[in-house]
């Protein structure tokens, strides 16, 4: 693995940050996002969800159940 971008591969102990679960979802008019804020959008079976990148960046990977199946959102 690499400890940092651009570094050589090295044998390192990669610490693991456990990802919290059960993040709430709100209606569009209940959130305060700027139009320029980035989101990861997903549509399934006529439903739509947005995951703001400002939160994805906190955790790097999120475990979500948006429809009937679990998904891992990463960025």
């Amino acid at each position: 693995m690499q400890p940092m971008p651009g570094e050589d591969l090295a044998l390192i102990d990669a610490a693991v940050r456990q990802t919290p679960a059960n993040f709430p979802f709100l209606e569009a008019d209940q959130v305060k996002l700027r139009n320029r804020d980035l989101v990861l959008g997903i549509s399934q079976d006529g439903e739509h969800w947005a995951i703001p990148i400002r939160f994805l960046g906190l955790y790097e990977v999120l475990n979500l159940r948006l429809g009937k199946d679990p998904v891992a959102a990463t960025w």
């Binding site: 990669a14 709100l26 209940q30 139009n35 400002r54 939160f55 906190l58």
Partner: protein, 188 residues
Amino acid sequence: MYAAKAGEQEMVFDFATGLINDNLLFVDRETKSIWSQLDGKAVIGELAGEPLNAVPSLQTTWGYWKQTHPDTKVMTVPGHPGADYLYHNPDVGSPRPQFAEFGHNPSQLGLGVALNGEAVFFAWGKIRGAKKPIEATVGGTALRIFVDKAGITAWAETESGEMIAAIMTYRKSWLAFYPETQTYRAKH
């Protein structure tokens, strides 16, 4: 975005500090296998070599997404504002952005499409001015590449209108995993 399943086993993932090819890693709680973020494959552990199924998703601006899907639900983290990550979009607003509006440079962004053993990178600079969907063939599959300049987004659909998994990413990141990638040319 990946289906969180290896075979029929549902997986839960955590962030693993450390990188491979300058790309992020995550680890599943079930087998402790380590997965690379960009191509969704396990690189170390019991499931090494196994791929996750990519799920079509769209990286775009909130303005574009809510306009397109006003009934969308939005994830939030109660009590936490999150961390800003913005693109500087020279196509929207005044030519010289205010200092407070400056964001990351999207000039090296593009849509990476990998299908049936072939990878193509549609550089944002080459496609952002498209007035109509771009027709392209990747891995023997005819695709249409849709672009929204204001939304700083692009996505790929099959001829039947099905969106396929593709990723908006920086060129360098894409090349690290797909060194044989072709770069879209207008006649592709």
